[in-house]
């Protein structure tokens, strides 16, 4: 098992990656998953995060198999 980290929209383009697979021990929280998947970049204040398709705070703990997603403010409609 592992953690999957996904990036969307402008974030995906800027970071030039849409998906990063981490080992379970690499990140204990959403914030750590961000740091690990971006190579240590500070998380911009307006970035939104989701775990298993629900919004999540940076300090939310992760478990094996989780899908973590990061994306910019939403602009649908």
């Amino acid at each position: 098992m592992s953690l999957t980290v996904r990036f969307f929209a402008s974030l995906r383009e800027r970071l030039e990656r849409d998906e990063v697979v981490l080992a379970p021990g690499d990140a204990a929280t959403v914030g750590e998953a961000w740091a690990c998947a971006t190579g240590g970049e500070a998380m911009p204040a307006n970035v939104l995060a989701a775990v298993n398709q629900d919004y999540a705070a940076p300090d939310q703990p992760l478990k094996d198999g989780d899908e973590v997603a990061f994306f910019p403010p939403v602009t649908g409609g």
Partner: protein, 148 residues
């Protein structure tokens, strides 16, 4: 659930409504009010001519949140049914982008719920717009304008 649809091709909101209503709603004698919102693409944003747009979403999370918004509307108002249809992919000016509709016995619930569906979609459903400008440049829309 088919009261939430994210579609990759052309969106005809009036055909969507007709199709959705044909399965019982049109004959539902308890319906006294139907409120509908249709959002379509402008050719101008932040003072710049826009010639096309690409709409991206997060498959799964988007549908899940649209369904949650409908559920929440059902708890807040007395509703008979709701529908949300949103388009993704390549979009041109005048193309419909989104349809929200609410059916109720009375107009207050229908109007308010329809507005709620749209405003909640704008603020929490994961969709993102990238614009193509008249000069050929591209830019991501950074935030939605407030609706209230």
């Amino acid at each position: 659930m088919d009261n939430v649809r994210v579609i990759g091709g052309a969106l005809d909101p009036w055909a969507e409504l007709q199709r959705y209503q044909a399965r019982g709603l049109a004959e539902h004698a308890g319906v006294g009010a139907t409120a509908v919102f249709v959002g379509s693409m402008r050719d101008l944003n932040e003072g710049d001519a826009v010639t096309a747009m690409t709409l991206e979403h997060y498959p799964g999370m988007t549908e899940k949140h649209l369904a949650a918004i409908i559920e929440e509307a059902g708890r807040r108002w007395d509703l008979i049914d709701c529908l949300i249809v949103h388009r993704v992919g390549e979009i041109l000016p005048t193309d419909p982008i989104v349809l929200t509709a609410a059916w109720s016995a009375h107009r207050k619930d229908a109007f308010e719920a329809c507005r709620f569906l749209m405003e909640e979609l704008k603020s929490r459903a994961p969709f993102w717009k990238k614009e193509t400008l008249a000069d050929g440049g591209e830019r991501w829309v950074e935030k939605n304008t407030p609706g209230y």
